[in-house]
Structures are given as structure tokens and as C-alpha cells.
């Protein structure tokens, strides 16, 4: 008896309890007809659809197309962001030239540029990649720039007292000191890139997760839509994990990581 009651108590305290209950209600809703299936498919059906999509290779091929867009957009965005941050962070004229423009850019919501980008780049791959690139520039720029400016002046002074040249100072002190900030920016850029991907893929896509969702919407296949939402979530988690792996390698000197 006491075993049973302690089990009940530990279940009652478990953080998994409320998601499980939600899942149960979600499952029961469509099955009993309380929720029409065209409104929301039951989890069991979603799982089945997921299995089918994986088995047919449809999910993987579309996922690869979407990942390719994110990778291309991020590569451009991060490169431009890093270049601009170095320019603004390491030189006064660079700061005067670059920073005001970046602050103006920050006030424009990237997604509001979608119509303009369609006019400029058409409805192929180019506007999708351009939107992702444009959105991912700023987090990298802002964090790296403030990271460079925030490097401990006492360390710079200490290194300067040993006769380091300006280039050596930048290489040995400023850039390693700004690296943690760059990684924070990178993490933001990754999540922004996935956010923009979702919207960009709604533009006349013939492949990719967005294409899958649009198609499913036309046929009211809520099960496929839910599968795609799950994939988006997994993409976000993977992006976060990737940056964390880079962090543990690049910031190995930090005590929290050293002690592990």
C-alpha cells in the first residue's frame, strides 16, 4: 500500500505529468469526435504519418532542402556580420561608418522586407536565402561588436606593457576576449534563421518543409502540419546543441568547463 501511495505521490510531483495529460486529452478529443479531425489530428495519427513520411523519404528530402537554405543564408549572414563587427569594433572610422547603418537596419523587421525581396529576387531560392542571411547578420554583428568593445582594458594594457604590436593585441587579446560574445550572437542567429525559414518557405516553394506544410494545408492534412512543426522544433534544438558543442571546445579555458 505504502509503495503504491509513494508511487502516486512521485507521479503527482513529476514535471512530465501535465504534458502527458495534455497529450491524453489531445488523443481523446479527435477520437471521440469532440475535436473534428480537420481541426487537429490525434497524436497517434501524427506518429503514423511521421513514420510514413520518413519511410517514403519525403520528409528527409524536404528537410535537406530546408537545411540547405538555412545553411546558405547563415553562411552569408554570419560572414557579413563578423566582417562588419570587426570593421566597427576595431576602428573608429569603421564604427562611424557601419554602426549607424546597422542600428537603422535593426529597426526594420526583416520579415516586412519579404515583398521587396520578392520584387528584387523573384520567387525562387534567392529571396529565401537572402531573407535568412539578412536576418542573421544582426545578432552576430551586435554581439561581436559589443564583445570587442567590452574586452577587459586591463588585459589589453597588460599585454601592451609587454610590447605587443596592434595586430598581436587584436589576435592574442581582443579576438579571444570577444569569442564568448560571438558565440552568443551565433546562437541567436541560428534561431532567427529558423524563424525566418518558416516564413520564407511560404513563398511559392516547390520543396522544403514549408512546401510540405502548404500542401498539407490545401488538403487539410493537420497530421502532416503537426509533423512539420515537430521537425522545426527539432531543428531549433539541433542548432542550439551545435553551438553548445562549439562552445565547450572553444571556451575550454572557462572554469565551469575546466572542472568537468
Amino acid at each position: 500500500m505504502s509503495n503504491l501511495s509513494s508511487l502516486a505521490r512521485s507521479i503527482g510531483r513529476s514535471r512530465a505529468l501535465s504534458p502527458v495529460i495534455l497529450l491524453l486529452i489531445w488523443e481523446l478529443g479527435p477520437r471521440t469526435g469532440v475535436i473534428p479531425e480537420r481541426t487537429l489530428a490525434a497524436p497517434s495519427e501524427v506518429a503514423e504519418t511521421l513514420f510514413d513520411l520518413v519511410a517514403s523519404g519525403e520528409l528527409l528530402s524536404n528537410l535537406l532542402v530546408s537545411s540547405g537554405r538555412v545553411a546558405a543564408g547563415l553562411a552569408i549572414g554570419i560572414t557579413v556580420g563578423v566582417a562588419l563587427a570587426l570593421l566597427a569594433g576595431l576602428s573608429r572610422p569603421g564604427e562611424v561608418a557601419v554602426d549607424p547603418l546597422m542600428q537603422i537596419k535593426r529597426t526594420i523587421p526583416t520579415l516586412a522586407l519579404t515583398p521587396l525581396f520578392i520584387v528584387w529576387f523573384g520567387i525562387g531560392e534567392a529571396p529565401k536565402i537572402a531573407l535568412i542571411a539578412f536576418a542573421s547578420v544582426f545578432p552576430v554583428y551586435l554581439n561581436l561588436y559589443s564583445g570587442i568593445r567590452g574586452v577587459d582594458l586591463r588585459l589589453i594594457e597588460g599585454a601592451r606593457s609587454f610590447g605587443l604590436s596592434r595586430a598581436e593585441l587584436v589576435w592574442h587579446v581582443v579576438l579571444p576576449g570577444a569569442l564568448p560574445s560571438l558565440l552568443v550572437g551565433l546562437r541567436y542567429s541560428l534561431s532567427v534563421a529558423i524563424l525566418v525559414l518558416v516564413v520564407a518557405e511560404q513563398i511559392n516553394a516547390s520543396a522544403g518543409l514549408g512546401y510540405l506544410i502548404n500542401n498539407a494545408r490545401d488538403f487539410m492534412r493537420t497530421d502532416i502540419i503537426v509533423v512539420c512543426l515537430m521537425v522545426y522544433a527539432v531543428l531549433g534544438l539541433l542548432a542550439d546543441w551545435a553551438v553548445r558543442v562549439v562552445e565547450t571546445r572553444a571556451l575550454v579555458w572557462r572554469p565551469a568547463i575546466v572542472e568537468q
Binding site: 594594457e157 606593457s161 579571444p176 579555458w253 575546466v258
Partner: protein, 264 residues
């Protein structure tokens, strides 16, 4: 014993420049806006001399040290400092992203920098922490790395900016011995900024007291280190009274009185 100390009652502001001086400042003045930090300062430090610089906060000690370190611009002023100099700051200022030996090797040139860094670290007793990360070092260890990093350059002038102020008493005494041993081995001229009168008396050949940007006292100590207990008492009294820090502690204590109603 007074003879060994040689109190100089009227201190001459213009020392005769000896040919072997490595540091030479003449009529050196430093202003920030309307604030004059250092005014008309003359200073000579001989090769291999150990000089301690005492002064209250705001007396210009740090500004003087920064000038000698070449960290501040000295345009148009009569300042001579040797080309090879190194600084040990109060906070060790190690780069946390470089392993200990790379910190020591920072800015060194040549093929054998790893060996040189290793030798310097062994000299300060840290041969076993070559590949440690600086943030895992204790305060005393970090300061010893900073000493190794300064000495590996074989400087003619070693500048110490309150290097032991943040350390506990026992570690501080060990560091005193280490600094003296390294100084005897390498013979750089040393200027050590400190606020600790006893530390200055224990280590230095000559003690300078800086106040409001001027050297107000210069005191040479001729007694050998370790045989200074006889002279240190009166010298400490004198230096403390010049520094203005030697007030009777009771004078500033306000006696605590119970309010009339609370009296038993």
C-alpha cells in the same frame, strides 16, 4: 644604528645623475585637465637598484608607474627609461584563454620560447603548472606566473604595482623571498609601488614617499636585508607620520553611550 639608516633631513630634489642610471626623469609633470597629478618630479634609478615607492592613494604612484612602463604618452618630456622593461600588476592580468606557459611566452620572439617560458616558470616554482588554465590558479600562483612572465624578458627595469596587496599574509612573505631571490639572480632595477611600509622596509635599497605628485622623502637603507629589525622601528614611525597614516586609533573612536532612558 642610526648611521646605518642615514636619515637625510633636507632631501635634495635634484639628485646628481649617475652614469649607470637606467631611469632618469627631469622636471616631469603630468596633468589630467586641471588636475596636476605629478609636478616637477626628478627621479633616477640606478641599474640593479631596488626602489620602493610609498604614497597614499591619489598621490600619483600609479601614474608614475604607468609613465615608466611606457603606457602613457610622454611627449616633450625629459624621460629616459630602458627599452626592456616589464610590469607586474596587482591583478596578475593573465589572459584566461591562454595556458600558463603561453601567457609567459606572450610577445616573445624566437624559436625556443617554450623552453624559455618553462625555465622561467620553474624558477618561480610552477614547473608543474605549465599547461594549466590561468583561472584555475590561486592568487599566489597567478602572481608568480606574472613574475615569470616579467622576468622571462630579462628586463633592465621591473615595475611592480602593489603586486602582493591582494595576497594573504603568509603568501605575501613567501612572495617577498621569491622576489628578492629573483632580483639577486637577474639584477633588474626594480620600482615597487606599495602602500605597505613594512614591505618597503624589508625589500628596498631606497624608499621614496610620493605626496601630491612630489617626492617628499627619500630614504636609503644601508643595512642588509634580514638585519633591519633594529632600524625598522623608528623608520616605520617616521614614514607613517609622513604618510599621515599614523594617528592614534583611539582618537577617531566615538565612545558608545547608552541613552539616558535605557540606563539600568
Amino acid at each position: 644604528m642610526d648611521a646605518a639608516v642615514g636619515f637625510s633631513a633636507n632631501f635634495s630634489p635634484l639628485p646628481s645623475s649617475s652614469p649607470e642610471s637606467v631611469v632618469r626623469l627631469r622636471d616631469f609633470t603630468r596633468r589630467f585637465g586641471d588636475n596636476t597629478i605629478i609636478s616637477s618630479l626628478n627621479l633616477d634609478i640606478a641599474a640593479g637598484e631596488f626602489v620602493a615607492l610609498l604614497g597614499r592613494s591619489g598621490s600619483g604612484k600609479t601614474t608614475l608607474l604607468r609613465t615608466l612602463a611606457g603606457l602613457d604618452d610622454v611627449k616633450g618630456q625629459d624621460v629616459t627609461v630602458p627599452g626592456s622593461r616589464a610590469v607586474v600588476f596587482q591583478d596578475a592580468r593573465l589572459l584566461p584563454w591562454k595556458r600558463v606557459w603561453r601567457n609567459v611566452a606572450l610577445g616573445l620572439r624566437g624559436a625556443d620560447i617554450r623552453q624559455r617560458a618553462e625555465a622561467a616558470l620553474q624558477e618561480v616554482g610552477l614547473g608543474h603548472r605549465l599547461d594549466a588554465w590561468p583561472l584555475t590558479l590561486s592568487g599566489g600562483e597567478a602572481q608568480r606566473v606574472a613574475l615569470a612572465r616579467a622576468l622571462v624578458r630579462e628586463p633592465q627595469l621591473l615595475l611592480l604595482d602593489e603586486p602582493f596587496a591582494a595576497l594573504d599574509a603568509l603568501t605575501r612573505y613567501r612572495m617577498h623571498d621569491l622576489v628578492l631571490a629573483l632580483w639577486r639572480q637577474h639584477r633588474p632595477a626594480i620600482l615597487m609601488v606599495t602602500h605597505d611600509v613594512d614591505e618597503a622596509i624589508a625589500l628596498a635599497d631606497r624608499i621614496l614617499v610620493l605626496d601630491q605628485g612630489r617626492i617628499v622623502t627619500e630614504q636609503r637603507i644601508d643595512a642588509a636585508r634580514g638585519e633591519r629589525s633594529a632600524v625598522s622601528g623608528p623608520l616605520r614611525e617616521r614614514l607613517l607620520s609622513i604618510l599621515g597614516g599614523h594617528e592614534e586609533p583611539t582618537a577617531s573612536v566615538v565612545p558608545f553611550r547608552l541613552a539616558a532612558g535605557q540606563q539600568a
